[in-house]
Symmetry: C2
Subunit: 310 residues, 2 copies
């Protein structure tokens, strides 16, 4: 079967990650990957130029990609090919026509995707969700991203916001969430709240401390795991996924986080067979966003945007 190549870019507030993928039918492999500082303070044009330069470098060899997918940390309009709201990037990234601007620079089809849905695509096709028909994913980072897969497809919803599992309400009068609600999963399990619960400055430190036996950190991860477990339980009764994939820095804690999740799910779910549910760590680490963006971009391989056709 013929191979095709697809570049994925993961636009973060700090770093711009990229992954070059090869596809043969449904089999995907990672050819190369890397990252460079986003440099968002230099302005959107400079960032777009930097993204175009990465595409140019990837296109220099024999393995030139045919499509580009861009994962963005927030909301976008798939039809118009624009961002709509990226809370952690400068305001000029609101309503920025990324598909047209980057497409013009690189001369190939460009497609946008939310970074958490990109995580889901990556884990589904190349990672911990391989072979799943129904899957849910949580990405514990600065915020808490989510994704759901139903019948083998990432569920984007009408506007790409399907699967925002971090904004389930877990405690109606709970702590305020950045979204405006109270008691969302994100209000308990975003990076600063994990660090605070563990008595550390960052989730990464919390993981190190817990592994070294620090009881405050271990108890903190267990509390976070219980909240995450309630969210997993709610997804379990809603969708009966075969696998729930937990990613983000704190997932490095492994069973120090996942065993409390599993215990909470066992405590709460009695209406479906839990023997059919695995709760597992993500496999692709910080590269999932770029990889998933590449997978998403590939699905327009046969489409030429109107801006490119003119």
């Amino acid at each position: 079967m013929d191979a095709s190549r697809h570049l994925g870019l993961d636009l973060g507030a700090t770093n711009l990650k990229w992954a070059l993928l090869e596809r043969r039918g449904d089999a995907w492999s990672i050819r190369d990957r890397g990252q460079t500082p986003t440099g968002a303070d230099e302005g959107a044009d400079a960032v777009l130029d930097r993204m175009a330069a990465l595409v140019g470098e990837a296109s220099a060899g024999a393995d030139a990609p045919g499509t580009v997918g861009v994962g963005v940390p927030g909301l976008y309009d798939a039809e118009r090919g624009t961002t709509t709201f990226l809370p952690n990037l400068p305001p000029e990234w609101t309503n920025l026509p990324v598909v047209a601007e980057l497409g013009r620079r690189v001369g190939m089809p460009v497609r946008l995707v939310n970074d958490a849905r990109a995580f889901g695509l990556a884990e589904l096709w190349l990672g911990a969700g391989r072979g799943c028909r129904t899957m849910a994913g949580f990405v514990l980072g600065t915020g808490v991203g989510g994704v759901v897969v139903v019948d083998g497809h990432v569920h984007f919803g009408h506007d790409g916001t399907g699967g925002e599992l971090g904004h389930q309400t877990l405690l109606p009068d709970g702590p305020p969430c950045t979204c405006g609600n109270r008691g969302c999963l994100e209000a308990f399990a975003r990076a600063d709240r994990i660090a605070a619960a563990c008595g550390t400055d960052t989730p990464e430190e919390a993981v190190r401390a817990a592994r070294a036996g620090d009881e405050t950190a271990i108890a903190g991860l267990a509390r976070i795991g219980s909240w995450l477990g309630i969210a997993v339980a709610n997804v379990a009764v809603t969708l009966t996924p075969e696998r729930v994939v937990i990613g983000g820095g704190v997932a490095q804690a492994g069973d120090l986080l996942l065993e409390p999740v599993r215990a909470e799910v066992r405590r709460r779910v009695h209406v479906t067979d839990l023997a059919q549910l695995e709760i597992v760590p993500a496999e692709l680490g910080p590269w999932a966003g770029a990889i998933g963006a590449g997978v998403h971009g590939a699905s327009v391989a046969a489409v030429t945007p109107s801006r490119l056709a003119s």
Copy 2:
């Protein structure tokens, strides 16, 4: 286009409802419907005979059905064609081979479905969910049933338990639920809790009292609506449905229940466009279960169970 006819039976603890449907392609209509007491105390054989008699009556005219679907209030094994656990029927209904037993009596294909998923199929094809790609449904009855529709299909999950939205946790240390968990939607919104919240004996009385201006009943329905609203909000961020359909006796309260639901959803959902979400009452009333069972049964129209082929 040729028409085919399909019978649906809704096996309740008290009543056995039936609906005779006609299908032309994707267009469904209801030819006739009715109910008879289940008579569960006379034993499962008597109930199966009664079900077979209903099929016989429906088959007497020119409009004879070609398939039978049976909605059951609980768990079943689709592959084996047996019930597995029906909490409100006598214990002999556990592991009862309904497909084989009823199929033998009526000589046509029989298929099982959970009654809440049948509600979803009915509202999707013939009711308030017509034309939806993504939909969620809640049925507020003795318990609280649920159903989700993704990409135009009811999501059954691996064992038919997909969509159990009544068993989302809304308050981690909330009141005990019949399922074994605490703080499920069902623990707030099942019939006896609705009646208690409204100072009446039944949800139907609560609706009448609230309509007559009784302030306790109005406030009770508003509290129930708020809990239901949290559950709707969680489904909204997970699946971004176009429509959420609320059924069951208390849905007769209309906006006395639904306005508090909508207000709670507006308070909680900030990560997807609520202009795309309608929260509406079900349209098919107590007949949804029988109608949806008929729709589900029709999907085996071309299949002859092995017991019938021999």
